[in-house]
């Protein structure tokens, strides 16, 4: 996970990794996540008359938007071989900073700009630790995240800061053509993520660096710049998610984001992305996000106690990890 601990041999992939040979077992493993989502939708549709309604499906879309935006950023960073877990703290500092700045009389746009700058700084700081000081991305982003969370608490003086003018962020709760704005933003993020990774040179470089950074370096790819880029993308998307949370709740709370670790990493792991980098796609992460969201929604509709919900979430994650292990083992043959 550090910039220099990847394999020293081989040529870098310059595009998303080629599909494995058309083995039916591999295909089943690959589509398992889609099957799981389909089965969940069918089960919940049968079990609850409320599930398969337009209103509820839009609720799911709205609820997963924040997780989805975060997961897209984490996925892009992870494809490059960097696991960014500072996103929760960026949500917290974004929500608090914007609430504090607007409370001080600054226009909402300026306050959001301040949060964007803070998010960029977090991404750059992560980059410095990982790229320049060669510290593992998990440790670096954990340390930075902890410090940033502390800063959010300090900024808020431990309090929940209500927005002085929630109307300035009411666009978050607006529906356009019947669709919640956060959902539309999340869709836009995923389309942009897909284009970036699958259709641009930068995307090819991200896969290349994640697959084999040494080989990528020899091939002339600016590895360090790629690392900085993905970390800044990740933290910028966390700022976006933070603004959405702020608009939804109407207040900046330094505890925001703390609970997103499981759902975001869960969605990313469900996609079958390898922690080593060089593989994965935002499309599959999108399905992982939907699985987490459908589970959270459906289990509440069924009145299932939250303890069981955690059990189910954990079981789904274990299954995802096992599937990925099997897939990796087969590919290594």
């Amino acid at each position: 996970m550090t910039a220099t601990t990847v394999a020293q041999q081989g040529t870098p992939p310059t595009s998303p990794p080629p599909k494995p040979k058309s083995d039916p077992i591999d295909r089943i493993l690959d589509v398992g996540i889609y099957i799981a989502l389909g089965v969940l939708v069918i089960v919940f549709s049968i079990a609850s008359p409320y599930f398969l309604t337009v209103g509820n499906l839009l609720n799911i879309g709205q609820a997963v938007a924040q997780t989805g935006i975060l997961a897209a950023g984490v996925t892009i960073a992870l494809i490059a071989g960097q696991l960014d877990i500072s996103f929760g703290s960026v949500i917290a500092v974004t929500a608090v900073l914007v609430a504090v700045l607007t409370g001080a009389g600054l226009p909402a746009a300026v306050a959001v700009l301040g949060a964007v700058v803070a998010g960029l700084l977090v991404g750059i700081l992560n980059g410095v630790l990982i790229v320049n000081l060669n510290i593992s991305s998990i440790i670096s982003t954990l340390a930075v995240g902890t410090a940033v969370t502390g800063a959010a608490y300090l900024l808020a003086n431990g309090q929940v800061i209500p927005l002085p003018d929630p109307a300035a962020f009411s666009w978050v709760n607006v529906r356009v053509f019947g669709l919640p704005v956060p959902m539309l933003i999340a869709i836009a993020v995923y389309v942009a993520g897909w284009v970036l990774l699958a259709k641009t040179k930068l995307g090819a470089h991200i896969y290349a660096v994640g697959g084999n950074s040494s080989a990528a370096l020899r091939a002339g790819i600016p590895v360090k710049r790629i690392y900085y880029t993905v970390l800044v993308i990740s933290s910028s998307l966390a700022v976006l998610a933070g603004v959405i949370v702020l608009g939804r709740t109407g207040a900046g709370d330094p505890s925001y984001g703390a609970a997103d670790m499981f759902t975001v990493l869960g969605a990313v792991l469900l996609s079958g992305i390898g922690l080593g980098g060089g593989t994965g796609s935002v499309q599959r992460t999108f399905v992982g996000v939907l699985i987490i969201g459908v589970l959270a929604n459906g289990l509440v509709l069924l009145g299932v106690q939250s303890y069981y919900q955690q059990l189910v979430n954990g079981a789904v994650l274990v299954l995802a990890v096992v599937m990925e292990a099997i897939r990796r083992k087969r590919r290594s043959r």
């Binding site: 039916p24 077992i25 089943i28 493993l29 589509v31 398992g32 099957i35 799981a36 089965v39 969940l40 069918i42 089960v43 919940f44 079990a47 409320y50 509820n56 609720n59 709205q62 609820a63 949500i91 808020a156 431990g158 309090q159 209500p162 927005l163 929630p166 009411s170 709760n173 709740t249 109407g250 207040a251 709370d253 330094p254 505890s255 925001y256 703390a258 609970a259 997103d260 589970l295 459906g298 509440v300 509709l301 069924l302 009145g303 299932v304 106690q305 939250s306 303890y307 069981y308 955690q310 059990l311 189910v312 079981a315 789904v316 299954l319 995802a320 096992v322 599937m323 099997i326 087969r330």
Partner: protein, 358 residues
């Protein structure tokens, strides 16, 4: 084997979900209706009979005939916390007793950022009243208002909400302080004579109601005639768990090696955490604690508290859940409800009598 893996995960998920759905209704704690259906309203005696050992003081005399489709929803801040689990059991029992539908969502470990999303999920049931305990409810006010749903805040007032039911914090804190003073007074004339007394209020700086509670504890303590040399209010942080209480108290004891401490804890978790820190430090002779809540965690602490816990102000969490339903019904009918102040204190002498099921 590998061929099965992809399909098996899908099947396992669906099987688990169905299994869980089966568990959902069986887990509800329900009370038997105390009075036969008929004209009029349920009386306090009906409620007393129905709630048994929970001994709920009703906040609203609920009509025996309610609309068939009266539908309530509650967003619980943390079912993993014993207070809120007991509250959950209480509101489910009340909903069952009064014959109203109640749907519940859980914010996990106080994940308040998810409150509006959880509301959206519950909104498909078209509740008339939704309840929540949150320090950041502005977004929820807007959402419920847009849907024409009444918001009944619970525990922490929300500006703009349609109603609030909770503990009168000042009276609760005053009672805790008075009980603490009763426990400390004999010591000040004996073992603690001549030693510096520090009042400690364990609250959450981010939640003003909890601070009001422990600050009122100091007021009650002083009103009982005891003047501490100083008063401190360390912040328990976001969750106020047992671990938070232990951590904060351990540090506090280290910083106050020679003083004697009179502690009011905002909840049982913090109080029990503080107790554990005191026991670990071997400072049993230097500290006395009163907690607020009297949930299962707090009550069980009497079994091994070395006499450190003087008493627990009984907020009756199960009863708080029951009363939320009564208040929600009142709100749905545009009628008033009355919030009672707690007046019962649990001690090691009466805990077995008041909570025989423990």
């Amino acid at each position: 084997m590998k061929h099965i893996s992809g399909l098996s995960s899908a099947l396992a998920i669906s099987a688990t979900v169905l299994l869980m759905a089966g568990c959902a209704t069986a887990s509800n704690d329900s009370a038997e209706p105390a009075a036969a259906a008929g004209e009029g309203r349920y009386t306090q005696q009906d409620v007393t009979d129905a709630t048994g050992i929970h001994d709920v003081t009703s906040v609203f005399s609920v009509p025996k005939q309610l609309p068939d489709d009266l539908n309530l929803a509650y967003i619980n801040p943390s079912l993993a916390t014993s207070f809120f689990k007991a509250m959950s059991d209480g509101y489910k029992a009340a909903a069952d007793f009064y014959g109203v539908d109640l749907h519940e969502a859980d914010l996990g470990n106080f994940n308040f950022a998810d409150a509006v999303n959880k509301y959206d999920t519950l909104a498909v049931f078209e509740p008339e009243v939704v309840g929540i305990l949150t320090p950041s409810g502005a977004g929820l006010v807007d959402r419920t208002r847009a849907d024409g749903v009444k918001l009944l805040a619970s525990g922490i007032p929300i500006e703009g909400a349609d109603g609030f039911i909770g503990t009168p914090e000042r009276e609760t804190g005053m009672l805790a302080g008075t009980v603490l003073a009763d426990g400390v007074a004999p010591l000040l004339e004996d073992e603690w004579a001549g030693r510096e007394l520090v009042f400690v209020g364990l609250g959450q700086a981010a939640i003003p109601t909890t601070m009001e509670r422990v600050e009122s504890g100091l007021e009650g303590f002083e009103a009982a005639g005891i003047q501490p040399a100083s008063a401190e209010f360390p912040d328990l942080g976001k969750s106020a768990t047992v671990a938070d209480g232990t951590r904060i108290m351990a540090d506090f004891l280290t910083a106050h090696p020679d003083q004697v401490l009179a502690v009011v804890a905002m909840n049982d978790q913090a109080g029990v955490g503080a107790l554990q820190a005191v026991q670990a430090a071997g400072r049993q002779d230097d500290v006395r604690i009163v907690t607020i809540g009297a949930d299962e965690v707090g009550r069980s602490a009497f079994k091994n508290d070395d006499g450190i816990i003087v008493g627990e102000v009984d907020l009756n969490p199960w009863g708080a859940g029951w009363r939320w339903v009564e208040a929600a019904i009142a709100l749905s009918m545009d009628e008033e409800f009355v919030i009672p102040a707690p007046d019962r204190v649990i001690t090691r002498d009466n805990v077995a009598e008041l909570y025989p099921e423990d």
